[in-house]
């Protein structure tokens, strides 16, 4: 008897999907266009998301989380991103980039201190890795941390920090030793309220506009020794392991945006009449929709496979990169086609596809550009893993 690959969702995953879809339909979708235009942070939506258990989905119940696996996580993220990629960005950062590393590398005391607050919405997390001179070359970062009695003293500037304005808890990477590259790095949990931490420039963005993106400046910021995450010198490893999970969230986001674009384009094509018939009757439009549907399914399957591996605690760096690469490029491509199917109406704000188009672009850039994903995949393919 062969054990077949099973593409059905489990009952548990199906109900999580339905719950996330309900939440998105009721609490996010009606506000999505306005949030995009105003660029205002959706405080109330995030409060409700916390209440629903969406801010710390994979954190065990003992720490206040929902106790779900990575598959449930990506399924829910797709539903949220379908409604608003901006809102989902805020949520996915808190989940993947802040709760996950604390859960995986944190001490018991750190887990007890920070996870319940991050799960309940009392705190919001942000991830401070990128610096003005280190983007794709993240491991060359310059922010420094030096030991001083019972504290670490942090100095440096982080940029492009999602949730940077509203977050209370920052996961910060800094150089603690003279070793070059990843080996000299350590990770810290920094409470933003400590003296010496301030929000700098706030960015104005093309898409995901309701999430804040800010510079965070550390000037002799005193961080208690107890807030070192993992061990000294482990920062590079923590950063890379965290990005594997983060990439799943972005892959799911890209699938969600692409699906929203497909659904909008399909609905439009069915009701828009030209030359006496719905434009969905024309093969030129049909082929675009068919290609969109096919690529979106492929992107979702790659994402689910990577999530399944993560849920099984199996290596998934390569698969997460493939999912993120393919899904983000699918989102860009599919939203481009959706605008095209809408013609002039796709270019104006009365229809949602121009928002999807703008939102899609970031998925090819953050948490590792498409070029970095190809680099990761190539290393696994060719066998040079250094």
């Amino acid at each position: 008897m062969y054990r077949a690959v099973d593409f059905r969702l489990s009952d548990e995953h199906r109900v999580v999907q339905a719950a996330a879809a309900d939440f998105a339909a009721r609490e996010i979708l009606p506000l999505a266009a306005d949030l995009d235009r105003s660029g205002g942070f959706p405080q109330e939506v995030i409060r409700k998301a916390a209440e629903a258990g969406l801010l710390a989905m994979t954190v065990p119940e003992a720490y206040g989380g929902a106790g779900l696996d990575a598959v449930a996580y990506v399924i829910a993220q797709e539903e949220l991103a379908r409604a608003s990629a901006g809102v989902q960005t805020i949520i996915t950062v808190n989940n993947s980039l802040v709760c996950e590393p604390i859960l995986r590398f944190g001490s018991e005391a750190q887990k007890r201190t920070y996870l319940p607050a991050l799960a309940s919405g009392r705190s919001l997390g942000c991830y401070c890795l990128t610096e003005p001179a280190s983007g794709s070359d993240a491991m060359s970062l310059r922010t420094s941390a030096r030991a001083d009695g019972e504290h670490w003293i942090l100095n440096g500037t982080k940029i492009f920090v999602t949730n940077g304005v509203e977050a209370d808890v920052c996961l910060v990477y800094a150089r603690t030793g003279p070793e070059p590259g990843a080996r000299g790095l350590s990770a810290f949990i920094v409470e933003k309220r400590v003296p010496g931490v301030r929000v700098g420039k706030i960015e104005h963005k093309l898409g995901i506009r309701c999430s804040s993106t800010a510079e965070i400046v550390f000037e002799d910021a005193r961080v208690p020794k107890a807030n070192l995450l993992g061990e000294v010198g482990q920062g590079g490893r923590i950063a890379l392991a965290t990005l594997d999970g983060g990439r799943l969230g972005i892959a799911a986001q890209a699938v969600g945006i692409a699906r929203a674009a497909l659904e909008a384009a399909r609905d439009y094509a069915r009701q828009r009449t030209q030359f006496g018939r719905p434009i969905a009757d024309f093969q030129a439009i049909q082929w675009m929709l068919a290609d969109m549907a096919t690529r979106i399914d492929a992107a979702r399957l790659l994402t689910l496979r990577a999530a399944w591996l993560r849920a099984q605690d199996r290596p998934h760096t390569r698969e997460a990169s493939m999912a993120k690469l393919f899904a983000s490029e699918t989102a860009m491509w599919a939203t481009h086609k959706a605008v095209q199917i809408h013609g002039g109406y796709g270019y104006i704000q009365d229809y949602p596809v121009e928002r999807y188009f703008r939102d899609a672009k970031i998925t090819e850039i953050y948490e590792g550009t498409s070029e970095i994903q190809r680099l990761v995949i190539a290393r696994h393919t060719i066998g040079t893993r250094t």
Partner: protein
């Protein structure tokens, strides 16, 4: 206070019109492959029952009738929202049944559950809109019946309800047991269950019976559906010629001819 809430799974009424199809053989809406949701007002009924439980205590039982594979999600959602128990009457024929037929099975199940003070239903289902199940259940159970309610308060052996009426609101007192049909109101907007509670609900038992298990007697349906069709709406667009004054005059004449003004 023991409350039973009747929930019906219907094809998602939010689906676009082109997804609506009728099976010519059964003269019923095609359900296969369509997303099913709890009928809108049934969710309001559940929310009202849960709010009552939070106020005065007691137990809420979610009851649904349908093919078990299709309808289990409805009672799982009810459990996640806070219902204490869930019962599915597994009946492949349920989507074919209309009000009287359905009420007979539900009444038998409610009798089997025993000692219900209140039975809540939605005021109408999102698919057939018969509005008949609540009054029929009341008749079969020998209970009082009030329809289209939005709020309730229980007293000693009584329930006082706010009933939405065309000209305003009726406040009505009924003796218990009572069957109440619930309409929508902002105060009973169904709550969104927490993900944690959804997972908890997956582990709770769901009681499953057949119509025979509850002793439901076959009712010869008093109503037979002879024909169901999707209304064909044709639209026609006409351009009125002339300068704006002439166009306005022509428009007024058309509207008057159509008795619209």
């Amino acid at each position: 206070m023991n409350t039973v809430v009747c929930l019906k799974q219907v094809v998602d009424p939010e689906l676009p019109a082109w997804d609506f199809a009728i099976d010519p053989a059964t003269k019923r809406q095609v359900r296969t492959g369509k997303p099913l949701v709890i009928s809108t007002y049934d969710e309001n009924a559940l929310e009202l029952a849960l709010q009552l439980k939070e106020k005065v205590g007691g137990k809420v039982t979610a009851l649904t009738l349908g093919p078990a594979g299709e309808v289990k999600d409805a009672v799982r959602l009810a459990l996640a929202m806070g219902a204490d128990e869930a019962v599915v009457i597994d009946d492949a024929e349920a989507p074919l049944r209309l009000g009287p037929d359905k009420a007979a099975v539900l009444a038998a199940a409610i009798r089997r559950l025993g000692a219900a003070d209140l039975v809540l239903t939605g005021c109408e289902s999102a698919d057939w809109v018969e509005r008949s199940v609540a009054p029929l259940l009341a008749e079969m159970l020998g209970a009082a019946c009030v329809t289209f309610i939005t709020a309730l308060e229980t007293g000693a052996g009584t329930v006082t309800v706010r009933r939405t009426a065309e000209e305003g609101v009726h406040v009505v007192q009924a003796r218990l047991p009572a069957v109440l049909s619930v309409t929508s109101d902002e105060a009973i907007r169904p709550r969104l269950p927490k993900v944690k509670d959804i997972m908890g609900a997956m582990r709770k038992p769901v009681q499953q019976w057949t119509p025979a298990d509850v002793g439901a007697e076959a009712v010869l349906p008093p109503v037979e559906v002879r024909e169901v069709s999707v209304p064909q709406r044709t639209t026609r667009c006409e351009f009125l010629e002339g300068d704006p004054a002439q166009q306005a005059q022509a428009l007024v004449e058309r509207l008057q001819a159509l008795k619209l003004i």
